[in-house]
């Protein structure tokens, strides 16, 4: 530190600018790499299956041409599934990292603090009890997701918001909502395996074009707003006072990001069910890749999409039985959760 200060001001400036440039380059490189990875995984997902479809045919189907023998498999079966995977991954990843950054706590992701469970309750109630679908269903999921977030916030707010208290309150709320989902699944006598799996761990098996549409609209509308609004997110991490001093309208930014994140997560949950640990995993991985001092919303979304595609590929083709995507992400995410806990305990951090 003292060496830097002792240097002439111009050199220090130059060094700072250089490190900033290096960071920006790294960020661009990582984002580009992740994008390429998502595209590559999506193409693989479109090519591989019961029958192998060559790359050329896949591209032609995707461009809207009719290819005998491939149009149905790729266009009607694999394309909606892949699109759902990408969109849900983007939504869960971006929504999760927003929560984690805003609450400065990797455990405060929407799937751990019960917000996904809130959206699940609405979705299960809407589908099994009311028999609604489409926009109504998504609206219900978003409504209950927001209500859950608000409730957890109010319950955890006591002489200021404490990340650890919020996580505990959220775990309790999540247990309650999870039990309600199980109750409705049993009550509606709908404990058939696909439905149960979808609403308890998340699955892509019910993907169809009809279901992709609301999710796609949500991601395309809310996503860019989140990316733009999240530029001050890194400043928020410095603490509210510092952020205000640097010209960030703290409360407004926080509210905007919170609502946006809940909307994304709720839409995705209404489509695929709460894919286990996806929102929790994407943020820390993106943070590792991108490095400090950058907004993570886009990279985390891309990591989420890549994870969903990869996990679905593994679940569909790696074993004798076909596992839904949530079981695979759960098996990856669970040990990571424990590892994160051990590491943060050892570091003596307040979590």
């Amino acid at each position: 530190m003292t060496a830097t200060v002792a240097r002439p001001a111009t050199t220090a400036h130059a060094a700072l600018a250089a490190s900033r440039r290096a960071r920006r380059r790294r960020r661009a490189l990582v984002t580009g790499g992740l994008l390429a990875l998502v595209v590559a995984l999506a193409l693989v997902a479109l090519m591989v299956g019961e029958t192998f479809v060559p790359l050329g045919d896949v591209v032609r189907v995707a461009l809207g041409q009719t290819v005998p023998g491939a149009s149905f498999t790729v266009g009607e079966l694999r394309l909606p599934r892949t699109a759902t995977a990408v969109l849900a991954g983007l939504a869960f990843g971006a929504g999760g990292v927003t929560f984690q950054t805003m609450l400065r706590n990797p455990l405060a992701s929407p799937d751990i603090i019960g917000i996904s469970s809130g959206a699940s309750v609405a979705a299960v109630f809407g589908i099994l009890v009311l028999g609604v679908s489409g926009p109504t269903l998504s609206a219900m999921a978003v409504g209950l997701g927001l209500a859950t977030a608000l409730l957890i916030y109010l319950l955890a707010y006591r002489d200021g918001l404490l990340g650890a208290r919020l996580v505990l309150v959220g775990i309790g709320a999540g247990a309650f909502l999870h039990a309600m989902v199980q109750w409705m699944l049993l009550r509606a006598s709908a404990w058939d395996l696909p439905a149960a799996i979808r609403w308890l761990t998340g699955s892509l098996n019910d993907s169809s074009w009809e279901q992709v549409r609301p999710l796609a609209i949500a991601v395309l509308l809310v996503g860019p707003v989140m990316v733009l609004a999240s530029r001050p997110l890194a400043v928020l991490q410095l603490g509210d006072d510092a952020a205000t001093g640097l010209g960030v309208r703290v409360e407004r930014t926080r509210l905007l990001l919170l609502v946006g994140a809940v909307v994304l997560v709720s839409f995705a949950t209404a489509t695929t069910g709460p894919i286990a640990f996806l929102a929790f995993l994407a943020g820390p991985i993106a943070a590792r890749l991108v490095g400090p001092g950058a907004t993570l919303v886009l990279p985390a979304g891309l990591v989420g999409a890549a994870l969903t595609l990869a996990a679905d590929l593994v679940g569909q083709h790696a074993f004798d039985t076909r596992f839904p995507v949530g079981v695979v992400t759960g098996a990856i995410g669970a040990p990571y959760l424990v590892y994160l806990l051990i590491r943060s305990n050892r570091a003596g951090g307040s979590l």
Binding site: L107, I112, L155, A156, R158, D159, L162, A164, R165, V167, L168, V169, I171, G172, A173, A175, F176, H178, A179, M180, Q182, W183, L186, R187, S189, W191, L193, I197, L200, T201, A276, F277, F319, D320, T321, F323, P324, V327, G330, A331, G333, A334, P335, L337, V338, L341, I342, S344, N345, R346, A347, G348, L351
Partner: protein, 348 residues
């Protein structure tokens, strides 16, 4: 305080006398509640039967569907009482041993650990009988409790309630993912053992009760014997050592008892959370902090809570029924949130 007349006894002594009498009253009330819960559990269920049928079935002269339904409820009621008592007792001991108001075999991940061990045994080692399940469940429960305690006590401040609760919740989430992954490809196993994921007492038989009973008895004896030690531990390790208590031995003895109770309960009923959390707090409200009272009270209250939760699950979802683990989560989770909001929990 200084103006108090010297003839009156000091306030603490008076309170103690009052609360001792009150404790006996509460004990009688708790026993009466257990009896009421048992009667309710036999009388009400998915199938509506008249009171005459209930009595007729119990004295054994009636035949027919109603009588058969009532007779099937008897082992279920006994199992619910036993499992509830075991979980309540285990929760009280865990809260005492870790000095943690969020202690509960479910929240600390121990029941899910037992579940995972049993499910793995069924899937990979081909175990098929209940005695084998019990041993697997006990090993799973023991390993998980050691694991969660170690993870929760890494770092500054040792095993704080917050770190233990988080370690337990993380472990529960992790293990339930693994349980799903193991059960999914085996639909036949899943249909039979759905309760390994949720927790229920619907499949109760006298044979099953007979198999777990010895474990429950030993666990109960161990925990009740450690009541004195738990009182000393509540004062802090240094003071307890000063009072001549072997701190490690007291802790291990109590923990072994709690693991036996939680493991055996999980082996017959699957993972049931929140009973062990709620019950000791209720018990402390009425009988104070003396573990010689808190432990038996937790057992009685746990039995009442689980049995009534099971009745609720049977009555509200006619003609189906809701596993008792769901009902206890709906009752217990709000209590957990209320406890987590306390400043003391987070700052400890």
């Amino acid at each position: 305080m200084t103006t108090q007349s010297p003839t009156r006894p000091p306030a603490p002594a008076r309170e103690r006398a009052v609360s001792r009498r009150r404790r006996w009253v509460w004990l009688a009330a708790a026993l009466a509640l257990v009896a009421v819960a048992a009667v309710v559990s036999v009388a009400f269920g998915t199938r509506v039967v008249s009171l005459g049928d209930v009595v007729g079935a119990l004295v054994g002269k009636d035949e027919g569907i109603a009588a058969a339904a009532v007779r099937a409820r008897v082992p279920r009621t006994v199992l619910a009482l036993l499992v509830g008592a075991a979980l309540g007792l285990a929760g009280a001991v865990m809260q005492g041993v870790t000095r943690n108001p969020l202690g509960d075999p479910g929240i600390l991940g121990i029941t899910m650990g037992a579940s995972l061990a049993v499910v793995s045994g069924i899937a990979f080692l081909g175990i098929t009988t209940l005695p084998q399940y019990v041993w697997f469940a006990l090993v799973g429960a023991a390993l998980t409790s050691v694991f969660v305690y170690l993870v929760g006590s890494i770092g500054r401040g040792g095993p704080t309630p917050l770190k233990l609760a988080l370690a337990g919740a993380a472990t529960t989430a992790a293990f339930s993912s693994l349980v799903s992954a193991i059960l999914l490809p085996r639909i036949d196993v899943m249909n039979v053992f759905r309760f390994w994921q949720i927790g229920g007492v619907g499949g109760a038989t006298w044979e099953a009760i007979g198999i777990v009973l010895p474990f429950l008895v030993v666990g109960t004896a161990l925990t009740l014997a450690s009541a004195r030690g738990l009182d000393a531990l509540a004062l802090g390790d240094d003071l307890a050592t000063g009072l001549g208590v072997h701190v490690t031995r007291a802790r291990v003895l109590a923990a072994v008892g709690a693991v036996l109770l939680a493991g055996a309960a999980t082996a017959v009923a699957g993972p049931i959370a929140f009973v062990g959390l709620v019950v000791p707090h209720a018990a402390r409200l009425v009988v104070g902090v003396d573990h010689r009272w808190v432990l038996p009270f937790s057992a009685l209250t746990g039995a009442v809570l689980l049995t009534l939760a099971d009745v609720i699950g049977r009555v509200v979802a006619r003609p189906g029924e809701i596993e008792v683990g769901i009902v206890t989560a709906l009752i217990g989770a709000p209590v957990f949130v209320a406890l987590a909001r306390r400043r003391r929990v987070v700052q400890l």
